[in-house]
């Protein structure tokens, strides 16, 4: 976990922020503009699809609702003052990152309509075929987790000088790749079987669950920038670390559960000897 060591002027001003304080508007154009463009494109195509019965079947309202919910949560997480207060709370910091990694991406992926026609040999289909390759997704996700989150990374100039600006976007994008592999919303360019997706989900979830366990059960504060930090809501640094462990484990549970379900489905299919298909 990369400790935010940016100025804590907002923390100094208020050590007991309310939910309204956390959600107060604080625009971040780097996230806001792309999110609004994606939202506009999505809902424009959604409205178009409602004109035909085939389109309505392919793109049901619940998918648009889930996508909209994902976007709202993305905007709440990235466009609010909570981003400025994370230096006073490791739990808030981790909660924000987990929202971007484990809540927003599955909602956005579930919002993708069925039967999106993509040619895996051309243009966007080819690019997505590479980005959603399980090896690529797992590699990028692991790189983000390892490079920006292990304590040794604190010594890297590139980490200290990019964490605050890049990490939320990196968590979001790499998690979108991971969740896309797990949920397989674009079968035309995602040939993975349910078994390989299950193994992939298990591999992708394990490092995060392990880190969460360590934080939860460690008797000491592991990240020194928080040892003597002034914490929000009168929590001790150790409280914050344990709370962060809970947040990380709870946030990782749905992905882990889904991985097990996929693995069991694969095992059942194996046991059936191919008499039943996915």
């Amino acid at each position: 976990m990369t400790a935010p060591i940016i100025p804590a002027s907002e923390v100094a001003a208020n050590l007991n922020p309310t939910l309204a304080d956390l959600l107060a508007l604080r625009p971040d154009p780097l996230m806001l503009v792309p999110a609004l463009i994606v939202a506009a494109l999505y809902f424009w195509r959604f409205v178009q699809s409602r004109r035909t019965p085939e389109g309505r079947q392919r793109w049901p309202i619940w998918k648009a609702v889930l996508f909209g919910l994902g976007l709202v949560l993305l905007l709440l997480t990235t466009q609010s003052r909570a981003a400025d207060l994370t230096s006073g709370s490791m739990a808030l910091y981790m909660g924000r990152l987990m929202m971007l990694a484990e809540v927003v991406p599955p909602l956005l992926m579930l919002g993708i309509p069925w039967n999106v026609k993509l040619d895996p040999r051309k243009g966007l289909g080819r690019v997505l075929g590479v980005l959603l390759d399980p090896w690529v997704a797992l590699g990028v996700w692991a790189a983000v987790i390892i490079f920006w989150n292990i304590p040794a990374g604190f010594n890297a100039s590139v980490v200290t000088n990019t964490a605050a600006a890049l990490l939320p976007a990196l968590y979001l994008l790499s998690s979108l790749m991971v969740w896309a592999v797990v949920l397989r919303p674009l079968p035309a360019v995602q040939p993975a079987t349910i078994g390989s997706r299950g193994w992939f989900g298990l591999l992708a979830a394990l490092p995060m669950m392990t880190v969460g366990m360590v934080w939860l059960y460690s008797p000491d504060v592991l990240y020194t920038p928080y040892v003597n930090a002034l914490c929000l809501w009168n929590l001790t640094p150790l409280d914050n670390q344990q709370l962060s462990g809970w947040i990380m484990m709870l946030a990782g549970l749905p992905a882990l559960a889904l991985a097990f379900i996929q693995l069991f489905a694969w095992l059942i299919a194996l046991a059936d000897g191919g008499t039943q298909r996915e």
Binding site: W135, A188, T224, L230
Partner: protein, 234 residues
């Protein structure tokens, strides 16, 4: 994404063209792109690879007044002092962070040349003005080298701390004179033009050579800026 019909491509066909080692090579390329992109992003923000966290746009450091460790009035005027300053907020009863910060900052000072040392100073602003009298501050800062201690009375202290993004709070209070203070642990590097350039957390200070490199760059860039200014004058 298209609604036009395309030739049917089965999952098997889509996967057949990419053996596992090609996927592995693509993964390595993707990782290189992500890490390389982050490196480029960091260099665009700051051409010099600061060890500390660099300010995106240098902010003018706040001026303040107080009493120095010799009991004399002290005025910190970063815009006119023409010195590079490493400033941090701490207190003399601090059991670990403040002594370590002072010790490492003095090592940084000693690793500079005499000419550089003349343009660099370390400033400790006490967040415990009730107990940190000038006498106690003098005893404390001189023990750790050549830092300068400053006592600022409340409520001015809280305004100054807030201006820098620092914060502090009494903790573990046993009596009016027996307590600890939790405080933020950043050291702020202010250039000779009075602008905040870099923040180091105290956990970074043991890397003396890298902290010194940051200081040297800021000392050097201040000299270059001054020369440029003098050159521009008729």
């Amino acid at each position: 994404m298209t609604d036009q019909p395309i030739p049917a491509v089965s999952a098997a066909e889509a996967s057949s063209g990419r053996p596992w080692y090609v996927s592995a090579i693509l993964a390595v390329c993707a990782i290189t792109l992500v890490l390389g992109g982050a490196w480029v992003f960091a260099r665009i923000r700051s051409p010099f690879p600061f060890y500390g966290t660099a300010y995106d746009t240098p902010v003018q450091a706040a001026a303040f007044k107080g009493t120095d460790q010799d009991g004399r009035p002290f005025a910190f005027s970063p815009a006119t002092d023409r010195k590079v300053t490493a400033l941090f907020f701490g207190f003399t009863h601090c059991p670990n962070i403040c002594p370590l910060s002072l010790a490492y900052l003095d090592k940084v000072r000693l690793s500079l040349t005499p000419a550089e040392q003349a343009n660099f100073r370390v400033l400790l602003v006490s967040v415990d003005p009730a107990r940190d009298t000038p006498e106690r501050l003098r005893e404390y800062v001189t023990f750790f080298g050549k830092a300068q201690g400053v006592q600022i009375a409340e409520p001015a202290l809280s305004r100054v701390a807030r201006a820098y993004g620092a914060s502090y709070e009494q903790a573990d209070i046993k009596s009016a004179s027996e307590y600890q203070i939790n405080h933020t642990t950043a050291t702020y590097l202010i250039d000779a033009a009075g602008r905040l350039r870099v923040i180091w957390d105290y956990t970074q200070l043991p890397q003396v050579a890298r902290v010194t490199a940051d200081v040297r760059y800021v000392l050097g860039s201040a000299v270059s800026a001054e020369k440029a200014q003098l050159g521009a004058q008729p």
